[in-house]
């Protein structure tokens, strides 16, 4: 029997690129480009990838990773050209739904380049891919544990 659990995590990644917001946006919007930097770069055996980049459109991926079938289905909820993309996606390992996520990519001009802010809210399900508890208490716990471990390493 599967024990039920839902663990929540939010993380933010920022990057600056020496490319205009229009070029960065195009790298997400054009399926051929996205296939090159994202889909093929994961090192997974891609069986199928298709993207319909418009609000309400779906992006579907199916492949294998370490002998396991991995599938993802995204839906685009908000697209502002050169500024913002918001999508939600679920991820399956085999028949198990391991997570449901909401992701935003925001693009800000920075000189002649672009600052990208990537924010993802994850709900990890039933511990199938336990990537999770970034909740404040646990984060503090892990930090204090890390400090403990360092102290122990020093004293040992």
């Amino acid at each position: 029997m599967t024990e039920r659990s839902a663990i929540h995590d939010t993380f933010v990644i920022e990057r600056s690129y020496d490319a205009s917001p229009a070029r960065v946006f195009a790298a997400f919007a054009d399926p051929e480009s996205k296939n090159r930097w994202m889909v093929n770069g994961d090192g997974w055996g891609t069986e199928n990838y298709q993207a319909d980049f418009r609000v309400g459109g779906y992006e579907k991926y199916r492949g294998t990773h370490e002998g396991m079938v991995v599938s993802m289905e995204s839906r685009y909820y908000d697209i502002v050209p050169n500024e913002r993309i918001v999508w939600a996606y679920d991820m399956h390992f085999g028949d198990d739904r391991i997570s449901v996520s909401l992701t935003s990519v925001e693009l800000f001009p920075e000189g002649s380049g672009t600052r990208l802010v990537f924010t993802e809210h994850d709900t990890f399900l039933d511990g199938h891919e336990a990537v999770g508890p970034r909740e404040e208490g646990t984060k503090q716990l892990l930090e204090s544990l890390a400090a403990d471990l360092e102290r122990q390493a020093v004293t040992n």
């Binding site: 659990s5 993380f11 990057r15 770069g41 336990a130 508890p133 716990l141 204090s144 544990l145």
Partner: protein, 111 residues
Amino acid sequence: MLNQGATLDRVFQALADPSRRAMVERLSRGPASVSELAQPLDMTLAGVVQHLQVLEASGLVRSEKIGRVRTCRIEPSALTPAEEWIGARRSSWEHRLDRLGDFLAEPEQRK
């Protein structure tokens, strides 16, 4: 691998409960007796013992009885695989966004 997966499941199930997280946080500051653990929680001693059993089964906490007092302590090594898992989704996106940078650095071929 299967074994590690099972352990991770138990660790995350153990941490999914706020009372158990409070107990682990308390123990991360130092060993405590069962009644000391129970004190800040609005819970019976029996309830605390039940949560303690879950924590012990996950390997996060160990306890030993000295005289009449059961003393609990954290087992930091139990969290290492969990910490590795915690960063996985984030790091896969970090790698992707680095590859986006490489992609954008390539000379434009079209247009």
